[in-house]
Symmetry: C2
Subunit: 603 residues, 2 copies
């Protein structure tokens, strides 16, 4: 993948018209398909590589290159192809996967509707079964049900996986996915389908997003992706999952790969931006103690504080994401993608997607500003990466909504342990969760400011564990009080939203720090010292950001908060000599990095 | 201005090529020039309006419209025309200002160089005086001296105000400004000048930025803008300001108007974005306690927390900026633009520019995310406003550099009061500065969590004053220790950079809160209650953000920090019914707002 992207034909071109940019991206996509890179996850029987881990690595590598190409790749092979693979059965695999993988059949993933972006359960597109014709009739009943923001729809898509409410003879069976043609072989719009170009966007203009309306479009019965729900010729409905809610969320499970992929690609974009900013900062000089002796801007503490914790956090998320990818692949390959572990992978993926994408946006913003005007020029790529990744905060699940899902999951777990399992369950629960050393506030520890203590990984992790535990317990109590005071569950959640977001963040960060520590232990010995420093800076930067909460809850005393701040400064200074090596270690070749300011000898 | 911008010819067009966009902006600029809007600040004798306040109001109004037009307007009339007006004398005014105002003479402001973005004092472009020919020879001695990022240079500029080091017979006289032709009347490049297009940028693509090189370009002696330094025909140098450093900074004073203008325009862009997001949030529904009864997303606490403190802060900066504009205009109109008050205006402008532009970037980001995918579509404008204002954090002075200037000014003032004025000076100083009620930490107050107390404006302002005082005193001590330990002034400043930024921020926020209170008191009675609430939310959101520092320094106890957080939530809920009115009060007509999602009846 890296070799391919270094070829001159994949060189960036700036200032293209939207039409030309879309065609360039489609051409690039065809190149990648030709190499079999898009079908890496599909079964070998249908021309694929049979290797999901490889597909994710390909996608991650692509993320340092053009983001429009990355998203277009994800739409075609991940969302469109992936949903045929995961929601369909043998007959769909045999008929479509090969052409999806070669790009002979470009397609769309049509889930979102204008009126229902985050709330997929409320989508209104209809799929009526007509037993006489043995067809489904796909219909857009009103304007809020139009399919919105659909990648590949405006120009290239021919077939779409359309999510719609299935009804048979007046009976509702909930949301299912259907294969609906939107263009003919020759590119004309399919009868009964209306397509509108979504137009210019704040980024990703190489992706042809569009809107879709269906006016009683008839499709064969076989076009239902029937793994989790099927309809016989006579119109009898059956499903391997009896509970409609569970069935719905199992189908949504196809989005898990999408969220993990978005996080992986965002990370790669951030790494590219950080590499450009650090390499520029090491060569660019401004100001100094005497005229003519200006210093590299990377020597400034303000510069280090903006870039180095971001680098440490990128490394942290890398370990967390790689671990998650491993679990995801294991669950899929063992066919356990409807099991409890898969649900946990889903929740972890939702939480990481939210934190990783926000970190990417913030980190690229810092990188842009650290490069001044040079960072704003298209050829130096950071502004473009920043604009293109912006939407990752709200697509594939709005980050705020995703974090609430994470928090709700934690609360459900907490409640089940406490209320269902009885006294023994509570004890077991507490024993498991409160294993942190710092299970209760310790006034002696709160006062300690010596470096040995502050640099102790157990202390750092202990604080993160304590914070999560305490936020979880207090959130549960707050919700309980609200509900006892007469609020419904939804109203109670709204009132505690800020608390829930803090809890979810605390949870993801604690797990991330654990993964970082594990990753450091497993790294080759020569790498451990610098990884250890990065892990430390990640932990300290979280402690610094959360100093308000930690002080308010007696975990820190004032002097300790100040000591943490001073140690972050010191940690930045210690990492300064390694900074260029740390971003070069992201392994992004110069051709993919692209930015002239990041190249040797740049002024 | 508003009426003009509502005309159909000023309607936004998305997806233009860069070349077409630049020409559209230039056409728009011509329309505004035709109305005399660009020359509003120039003297009446030269076709101007003689009214600086009016010019700034025009610029501010423009800021809600296209940012490329805003910047192009600022370059032509503010930077180019303004520097001729302020650095030149009668002969330049008579010869150029009329044509600058009508756009018959498009021009550039060529200060920044590739190697010296923020550090203008180090620029390397040379201006040698040749007494025999009575000419200056303008020359770019090396690549790092090329003029970089010059607006109007790539396409339209014909004359440039070029900052260069003046030398006469080998003697150096420091940086001065010269009028240098870069294109002929017919648009050809002037002999000896080289121009390169800066190319695509992360935003503002309607502005034709470029690079300039001068190869011994000869200009008449009269082209020196000679208000602060002149050269006789024989090559004798004279200046009304003997001290070269003071002369340099007086000349840089021309940038004050630019920084204030950037802040005003950024504020307008943010207001437009907030108006769009709030109006959309009030109509857009997602999720709810029962199916089919979704709630407006603006009812969600997370949504309110992202938008309402941003609205309150926008109002706060409005009062601060309007007050600053008044002082700036008074200083200029009374001819006191070299006096101490003007220096203070300059420092206040630098601080406000930094905080306002960062607030704009963060606020537009929140607005974008609050509108989900709709916020990413170009027609809904927020993404474009966000991309276009991004560079305001680093142009017209990098924000980090500007805040350090503010902090250094405070420290100089502090040192002078302490070390020069003796005991009486110290007492007077303390009496003046420590007038806050909360001059020392008060354990009783630190514990109070009742609403009366937390909502007391004197309490809120007192905390902000205390924070500033304490950061100032401790920064002074830290620097003193560093210098006593052997560091030079520059090294000591670098080590304390994070402290200096916190001090500058504390200073600007304290002053802003004071201006907000004053503005509320002077408002018409019917407006005071809601302004009071906004002022309160602004103050509380600063206290919440700074809770870590306040807890660490004993100003707050834990329960108080929690009470502040709860009160921010409550304040958001209280403002919810006023939210749409508050953004409509920004007074941006629908045609200028532009975004379909912000219009009545939007889905």
């Amino acid at each position: 993948m890296r070799k391919r992207l270094r070829e001159p034909r994949f060189a960036y071109r700036h200032g293209l018209s939207t039409a030309a940019y879309r065609e360039l991206v489609f051409d690039w996509l065809r190149e990648l398909a030709r190499d079999g890179l898009g079908s890496a996850a599909f079964p070998r029987a249908y021309g694929g590589g049979g290797n999901i881990a490889r597909f994710l690595a390909i996608f991650e590598t692509l993320g340092a290159h053009d983001q429009s190409l990355t998203v277009k790749f994800g739409v075609q092979f991940g969302l469109f192809g992936g949903s045929i693979y995961q929601l369909g059965t043998e007959r769909h695999h045999a008929r479509y996967l090969r052409d999806v993988g070669t790009l002979a059949l470009p397609g769309c993933f049509a889930m979102s509707e204008l009126g229902h972006g985050s709330n997929v359960r409320e989508i209104e597109t209809e799929a009526h079964y007509d037993p006489a014709a043995r067809q489904f009739i796909i219909d857009t009943p009103n304007e809020s049900a139009r399919k919105e923001w659909i990648g590949n729809a405006a120009c290239h898509g021919r077939l779409a996986v359309v999510f719609a409410r299935l009804s048979i003879g007046g009976e509702q069976h909930g949301v299912h996915a259907f294969l609906v043609p939107i263009r003919t072989q020759t590119g004309g719009v399919w009868p009964g389908v209306r397509i509108e170009d979504a137009g210019e966007k704040g980024g990703l203009n190489g992706v042809d997003n569009g809107r879709l309306w269906f006016d009683r479009v008839r499709i064969p019965r076989e076009n239902l992706l029937n793994r989790y729900g099927d309809v016989t010729e006579d119109g009898d409905y059956s499903s391997p999952i009896a509970n409609p809610t569970r069935r719905f969320f199992t189908m949504l499970g196809t989005l898990v790969a999408g969220r993990i992929s978005v996080a992986l690609a965002a990370q790669s974009a951030l790494k590219a931006g950080l590499a450009i900013a650090v390499r520029y900062g090491a060569s660019r000089k401004q100001f100094g103690s005497s005229e003519g002796h200006e210093v590299p801007i990377l020597d400034y503490l303000t510069h280090q504080r903006r870039l180095f914790p971001a680098i440490a956090t990128a490394y942290a998320f890398d370990f967390a994401l790689k671990s998650l990818v491993g679990r995801f692949v294991a669950a899929i390959e063992s066919g356990h993608d409807a099991d409890a572990e898969y649900r946990r992978v889903e929740a972890d993926g939702a939480g990481l997607k939210a934190l990783v994408t926000w970190h990417t946006i913030g980190g690229l913003q810092a990188a842009r500003e650290c490069c001044g005007g040079q960072g704003f020029l298209a050829i130096n790529r950071i502004a473009q990466l920043r604009a293109d990744t912006d939407v990752t905060a709200t697509f594939e699940g709005d980050n705020t909504v995703l974090l609430q899902l994470v928090a709700k999951g934690l609360l459900t777990d907490y409640r089940q342990q406490f209320h269902a399992a009885g006294a023994r369950g509570i004890l077991r629960y507490l024993g498991r969760r409160a294993s942190a050393r710092l299970a209760r506030v310790n006034p002696v520890l709160a006062r300690r400011t010596d470096e040995d203590h502050l640099r102790d990984p157990d202390f750092q992790l202990g604080v993160l564990r304590y914070r999560e535990e305490r936020l979880l317990g207090s959130a549960a109590r707050r919700l309980k009080h609200r509900i006892e005071a007469g609020a419904d569950g939804f109203g109670a959640l709204i009132e505690c939203q800020d608390h829930l977001l803090a809890l979810a963040r605390a949870h993801v960060e604690r797990r991330t720090l654990e993964e970082f520590a594990r990753g450091t232990d497993n790294a080759e010995p020569g790498l451990r010292p610098v990884l250890h420093r990065l892990r430390e800076l990640f932990a300290l930067s979280v402690l610094e950001r959360e100093e308000g909460w930690l002080l308010a809850h007696g975990v820190f005393e004032g002097a300790k908060a100040e000591a943490v701040r001073a140690l972050v400064n010191q940690s930045c200074r210690e990492l300064r000599p390694h900074a260029v090596a740390l971003v070069n270690a992201f392994g992004i070749p110069d051709e993919i990095l692209g930015a002239p300011i990041a190249m040797a000898g740049a002024p």
